[in-house]
Symmetry: C2
Subunit: 473 residues, 2 copies
């Protein structure tokens, strides 16, 4: 399959609202049925009551007795970027590269993707659609010791499937210390053993579900964000988008090669390099019980202001056949955040306003983020100095809201961590006063930068939500 053929197959799949499921409502019927069977009970418990999790010293941190999974550690942050020169915080340390993998197969001439109805203890609604595989490195390095996640071998065994993409992508730099995962899409020709929790969806169906709140999980969104709607090396193929109009067409054209980009790729690299060179963030380990502003108790770890997040314990009873039960810490989030892109047509081509983002967990300094990413948005918008450009999202006025849905962050690490994802379009020519570190990019340019791991997960997750539909379904 040539690159052109793969790109075309992605685009066709994105246009297909019917596939193995007749339509999105049929997917939702199946999903609702799975949801009625769900067999997870999640109960909050004190951190001290967690089974197998202990505080260990030097520096004080919360770890699993096996040394596996992840740990909750403290860090002290100093930086010359942004308005706050320093702070302390807990952070998740999970120094291994997992696999987020989407298995693809052509069915009746349309590429389908194998999605899993998956329960995670931290999701507000427990059940969401995940990619085919979410595997930690311990999962996949001991694949032959049994207990490997279903379908994992398509991603790890050479020759089982053709690799369409395999990229290292960063996770939330404000919550994870230098965490990255391999994001993979692989394709098989032959049929795949079915399983009751897995179904084949078209890309168009996944995109339509992304317009709804809390159906498609974070791991699926990051993989989907890397599937381009067009080849940024090629001019538009109007025959292929016959019938697509309005904002859907604008998104497609923004993925395509054009000579209307406001900045070249060389300019974008130079902008990012200068940002990396200009600003530093020093991150030093610090014992959990010595973090300024944080209170550590047997019950939880929380900030004295009640803001940000807290570390809580949950007990999970999975009433599956295996009747497993476990307990684990999660990062609980009280209020909702906001992740937003401003977009605007320049020279007729849709551009997105990217912002340089520097967070303590970033592996390599500044990354490319969305226009706005703000936690606890209700509280922070009332403060003296709200994040720049936030007002365009809270009060869009005459501007057109192109996307607006609430999505959850990874439910295996975060408890009720939801962000409102928005795309707001400014009319052409409407001038903006931009603070430092903002740059307009096309969707194709964002995708090209993402391919090399330069785009953060908030920006990727929001780009994943953009499809070819003119309006929200």
């Amino acid at each position: 399959m040539s690159v052109a053929a793969v790109r075309l197959a992605f685009l066709r799949s994105c246009r297909a609202m019917a596939g193995q499921f007749a339509d999105v409502d049929a997917v939702m019927d199946w999903f609702a049925a799975k949801d009625r069977q769900r067999r997870f009970e999640v109960r909050r418990i004190p951190l001290a009551a967690l089974c197998q999790w202990d505080y260990v010293a030097d520096p004080l941190r919360l770890v699993h007795r096996s040394g596996r999974f992840f740990s909750i550690e403290g860090i002290a942050v100093e930086t010359d970027f942004g308005s706050v020169p320093g702070w302390d915080q807990p952070i998740i340390n999970q120094p291994e590269v997992g696999i987020l993998g989407l298995l693809a197969r052509e069915i009746d001439g349309v590429l389908h993707f194998l999605m899993q109805a998956k329960m995670e203890p931290g999701n507000v609604n427990i059940l969401q659609l995940s990619p085919t595989v979410q595997a930690t490195h311990s999962n996949y390095s001991r694949v032959h010791m049994g207990n490997a996640p279903r379908y994992l071998d398509y991603f790890t065994e050479p020759g089982r499937a053709r690799v369409l993409l395999d990229q290292l992508q960063p996770e939330q730099g404000a919550r994870f210390l230098r965490k990255r995962n391999r994001n993979m899409v692989v394709v098989v020709d032959e049929p795949v053993p079915p399983h009751e929790d897995f179904r084949w969806l078209t890309l168009g169906q996944i995109k339509a579900l992304l317009a709804r709140d809390n159906i498609v999980n974070m791991d699926a969104r990051t993989v989907v964000s890397l599937i381009p709607l067009a080849d940024p090396d090629e001019p538009p193929d109007y025959g292929m988008v016959n019938g697509i109009t309005g904002f859907g067409l604008d998104v497609y054209l923004s993925f395509c090669r054009s000579d209307k980009e406001r900045h070249s790729m060389d300019d974008i690299m130079a902008w990012l390099t200068a940002g990396k060179a200009r600003h530093a963030m020093r991150v030093a380990p610090k014992p959990l019980d010595r973090l300024r502003g944080w209170i550590v108790t047997d019950n939880d770890i929380r900030h004295e202001s009640g803001l940000y997040f807290s570390v809580i314990g949950v007990d999970v009873a999975a009433k599956t056949r295996e009747a497993t039960r476990w307990s684990q810490p999660l990062l609980h989030h009280q209020g909702q955040g906001l992740v937003g892109f401003l977009c605007q047509r320049h020279g007729g081509v849709l551009h997105f306003l990217a912002r340089g983002s520097l967070e303590p967990g970033n592996r390599d300094g500044m990354e490319i983020g969305p226009t706005v990413a703000c936690s606890e948005v209700a509280l922070r918008s009332r403060r003296a100095c709200p994040p720049a450009l936030l007002e365009f999202f809270l009060d869009p006025g005459n501007f057109v809201v192109r996307y607006d849905a609430v999505q959850s962050e990874e439910g295996g690490r975060f408890h009720h961590f939801q962000n409102r994802y928005m795309v707001v379009e400014l009319p052409p020519g409407r001038a903006l006063e931009l603070p430092d570190h903002y740059l307009w990019m096309t969707a194709g340019q964002l995708w090209r930068m993402a391919r090399h791991g330069h785009v953060n997960i908030e920006a990727r997750n929001l780009m994943a939500c953009l499809g070819l539909l003119e309006t929200l379904p």
Copy 2:
């Protein structure tokens, strides 16, 4: 200046063998005159006699009393990559990002680059041509405190020049711990104050000098490697390469967009990601006096086998107006290394055989290296198990040697560290049995990967040497 205009200006400059200097011989006359005036005397001294440099403990390492410049530290390496599962070695730690900058200006319609005749204590021939600026972070962060390198403000002060490229690029991962530099090219319209050590050269003149031994230094080579001979997004413009024939034309076409690439960019990213995920290298600090196989004395630090490199001290007397004098450690290399690319036409387009390279100083695991990179080549070729494919360079037989010159690595850190750089072309269709981690790429693909920092310095330095000339001058 649009991207297309910049690319065209690069190509024109590469074709121009005449410019401010009438030809390359005229450059060499100026260089020889500078060389006759040279005012550096370099004398080996014991490490214990270095002024301001001390061994400090926990772990034992060699540092400058100011805490600035760099330090020589010990590391223990463990890996599942390659044939050696672990070793100890000294390494240079210089945790800051410097600037390697080339100032460009159009003169009589041709882009020229300002090169400096610069003395470095470690060069075999002391004087070589460097880029306009080689600045450490301490240089450029205190630019207003005086003593800033000449012309630095063109690279650091917004608005002084237009940035054509600005990229973070890794240095030698076998000798530097996670070291990177910003590689920059900036262009000015107005005249620049002249200085006796600086001259404007065309890209064609620089490429011609790269065919000679030890004229263009490592810092210049890495910046030049990032200047593309064509736009990888565009098909060839045969009008622009009228008169270019043979291997020079093949190199140009290999930079251009074509549909003959053996692997897509997605494939290349997937290959690199899989290599990063499959192989790890653990690097732990270790006191210099406890490194297995290394002998630390007041005189030097050396390996008991006499192989690899040693850490020596030098005393430098610069008889310039300021009559400065200093002493410093350098990494001394006894024998010559070899850095080589095999190339071959596939579907009529020249491809280069890249090899995944994992070295202890790499910041992010595997990088893209040349086909062969081997130190102490005379000794290692006689051993039982020489590096794969080395024989094609030591005994090319009927294969065509497209490039063959000896170049020096950075003379400010390395003493007499020379590599023989070679490009050898196999006839089309000649099959090769490839070990793991090799992949054929076009020059345009290597350049695209280099733009994002994935290509190591040995591969970049060799690509820099390729120009539009059919045969070596």
